[in-house]
C-alpha cells in the first residue's frame, strides 16, 4: 500500500534543511515557496530515508489569484508518496524553477504547463509549446481564455 507521508512531519524536516521554504502543510501535502522549489526537490530526492526518486505527475491549476503547481513524488524503495505544491502569484510573467534536471519525466509536462498556462520554467532545456502549434497566441487552460 503506498503510504502517504504525513505532510506535517515532512514540513518540519524540510524547514530544518532549507529554512524559509515551507509555507504551509497538511496531512498529505506540503506547500513550499516557489523560489526555493528546486532546492526542496533536491533535498527530497537525495536524502536517505526519503528517497523520492519517481515523479508521478506535475500539473498546474489556475485559481484566479494565483497558479498552483502540484507535483506528486513517490519513492519506489519505501513505497511512500508526497504531494508537493507551490504557488505563483505573478499573472503576467509567471516563472518557476524547473526540476527537469532531477526528474526527466518533467520534460514534457513542464512544456505542457508552459503551453497551457504560460508558466515559464527556468532551467528547462527546451521550453516550447507542446500541444498547440507554434505561433499560437494565448494560453488555453487559463480561466480567462474563452
Amino acid at each position: 500500500m503506498t503510504v502517504v507521508t504525513s505532510g506535517e512531519d515532512l514540513a518540519k524536516k524540510i524547514a530544518e534543511a532549507i529554512p524559509g521554504s515551507v509555507i504551509s502543510s497538511d496531512k498529505t501535502s506540503v506547500m513550499v515557496d516557489a523560489a526555493k522549489l528546486a532546492q526542496v526537490a533536491e533535498f527530497l530526492k537525495n536524502t536517505p530515508g526519503l528517497d523520492f526518486n519517481y515523479l508521478n505527475f506535475a500539473t498546474a491549476v489556475d485559481y484566479i489569484d494565483y497558479f498552483e503547481l502540484v507535483y506528486r513524488l513517490l519513492s519506489m524503495e519505501h513505497n511512500h508518496s508526497l504531494v508537493l505544491k507551490t504557488r505563483c502569484y505573478d499573472r503576467e510573467n509567471p516563472t518557476v524553477p524547473s526540476i527537469v534536471s532531477l526528474w526527466r519525466g518533467a520534460y514534457f509536462q513542464e512544456r505542457e504547463m508552459f503551453d497551457m498556462f504560460g508558466i515559464k520554467f527556468e532551467g528547462h532545456p527546451d521550453l516550447r509549446r507542446l500541444l498547440t502549434w507554434e505561433g499560437f497566441k494565448g494560453y488555453p487552460l487559463r480561466r480567462d481564455y474563452l
Binding site: 519506489m76 504531494v83 500541444l131 498547440t132
Partner: protein
C-alpha cells in the same frame, strides 16, 4: 581524403503507416544510423481538459473514452475512481467485481493489439495482427453484449457501472476464459522462438533501470526494465487485494523484454478473470445511487490505476459545483515517449519503428 557526409533530417511524419496515430518524429540520420530523435506532438489535441471544465461530472465520462481508445473502459474507471475518492462514494460489491472483470478484459484487448501491431512493425505482414484481432473481436463482442458499443464504451459511472450484464454474458465469458490459455500458448509458440524476430528485438532499444525510474515510466516499459512496480499490487485500488496474481518483469529492458512482459501479463489477466468469475456475487446493485447533478465537497483528489499502457491518473479539483474546476489527465504514453531518444540513438531507422512500437503509445492519450 575523408568523404564529406552530412546528416539529413527525416520526418517520420504525421502520416505514416506505423506511427500508431498522428505522431511526428523528426529524426536526424547519418546514413541509416540515428543521431537524434525529436517527437513533435499535438496533432490530435482536442482540449479534453478544457472541455471537462464545462461539463458535469457524469458528462465528462464520454470525454475520457476518447483518450486511450484502444482500451476505453480503463479510462472511465480511472476517472470514476478519482471522483469517488473526492466525493467519498462507496461502490457496491457486484459493481466492483464487474469493474475488475472489464478492466482485465480491456487489458487483454489492449495487449492483443499492442503485440499484433508490434509484430506488424517488425514486418510480419499482417498475419500475427489478424490472429490477435480474432481474439480481440471476441472481447469486443462481449462488451457489445453489455453496453452496446464496440470501441468507445462509456460504461463506468461514478458510483458503479451504468447497467448490469445480460444473462448470456457470464456463460460467454466463461467460455472465453476457458479457451484463452490455449490461444496465448499458441501465440507464444509461434512467436517466441522465431529466429528473425529474436534477431530484430533482442538487445534492441535498451532502457536501463535507472533511466526508467528517473523518467517516470510506468507499465510494461518500466517492468520490462526490471522494476517490480505494478499499482495493482503496490497501491491497490478497487478490490484487487482479493485476487492472486503475479507481476511479470523483464531483465534487460530491450524490446523483447517488453513484449515478453505483455505476453505474461495476458496470462495473469486470465487468472484474475477466472477468480473474479467465481467470486462475483450473483445479484446485487450495480450502481450507488448518485444524484444526477451531484456536488462533491470542495477539494482535490488524485486517483490512478494500472491501465494496460501504464499508470493512468486523473487529478480532479472541485469547487463544490456540479462541474469539476479542473481535471488533469496524466497519460502514461506521454511519459514513456520521453525515453524514446535514449532508446533509439545509435540504432537504425528500422529499429526506431520497432522501439516505438514496443513502447505502445496511443495518440489519443498523449495529445488529449
Amino acid at each position: 581524403m575523408p568523404i564529406k557526409t552530412e546528416p539529413f533530417y527525416l520526418n517520420l511524419g504525421p502520416q505514416h503507416p506505423s506511427t500508431h496515430g498522428v505522431f511526428r518524429l523528426r529524426v536526424e540520420l547519418d546514413g541509416e544510423v540515428i543521431v537524434n530523435v525529436e517527437p513533435i506532438i499535438g496533432y490530435l489535441h482536442r482540449g479534453i481538459e478544457k472541455l471537462a471544465e464545462t461539463r458535469t461530472y457524469t458528462q465528462v465520462i464520454p470525454l475520457t473514452d476518447r483518450l486511450d481508445y484502444v482500451a476505453s473502459m480503463t479510462n472511465n474507471l480511472a476517472y470514476c475512481l478519482s471522483v469517488e475518492k473526492l466525493a467519498g462514494i462507496k461502490v457496491p460489491e457486484r459493481a466492483e467485481y464487474l469493474r475488475v472483470i472489464f478492466s482485465e478484459l480491456m487489458r487483454l484487448a489492449n495487449h492483443f493489439l499492442a503485440i499484433g501491431a508490434f509484430l506488424n512493425d517488425c514486418g510480419a505482414l499482417a498475419t500475427p495482427l489478424i490472429y490477435m484481432w480474432r481474439e480481440r473481436e471476441k472481447i469486443v463482442d462481449l462488451c457489445e453484449m453489455t453496453c452496446g458499443q464496440r470501441l468507445l464504451f462509456n460504461y463506468m459511472r461514478v458510483g458503479g457501472v451504468s447497467q448490469d450484464v445480460p444473462e448470456e454474458f457470464m456463460p460467454a465469458l466463461k467460455k472465453f476464459v476457458a479457451e484463452m490459455p490455449k490461444f496465448i500458448g499458441e501465440y507464444e509458440q509461434l512467436i517466441k522462438q522465431n529466429e528473425i524476430f529474436l534477431a530484430r528485438t533482442k538487445g534492441v532499444g535498451i532502457l536501463p533501470k535507472e533511466t526508467a525510474i528517473n523518467i517516470g515510466a510506468s507499465g510494461p516499459v518500466l517492468r520490462g526494465s526490471g522494476v517490480n512496480w505494478d499499482i495493482r499490487k503496490k497501491d491497490p485500488y478497487s478490490i484487487y487485494e482479493r485476487f492472486d496474481f503475479e507481476v511479470p518483469t523483464g531483465e534487460v529492458g530491450d524490446c523483447y523484454d517488453r513484449f515478453w512482459v505483455r505476453l505474461r501479463e495476458m496470462r495473469q489477466s486470465v487468472r484474475i478473470l477466472e477468480q473474479a468469475i467465481v467470486q462475483i456475487p450473483a445479484k446485487g446493485p450495480t450502481w450507488a445511487d448518485v444524484p444526477q447533478f451531484f456536488r462533491p465537497p470542495a477539494g482535490e483528489a488524485y486517483g490512478h490505476i494500472e491501465a494496460p499502457k501504464g499508470n493512468l491518473g486523473f487529478y480532479v479539483v472541485s469547487d463544490g459545483s456540479i462541474a469539476p474546476y479542473r481535471v488533469h489527465i496524466f497519460p502514461p504514453s506521454l511519459i514513456n515517449v520521453t525515453a524514446l531518444a535514449d532508446m533509439a540513438i545509435g540504432w537504425k531507422v528500422a529499429d526506431l519503428i520497432i522501439i516505438f512500437g514496443s513502447i505502445d503509445v496511443v495518440l489519443g492519450e498523449i495529445d488529449r
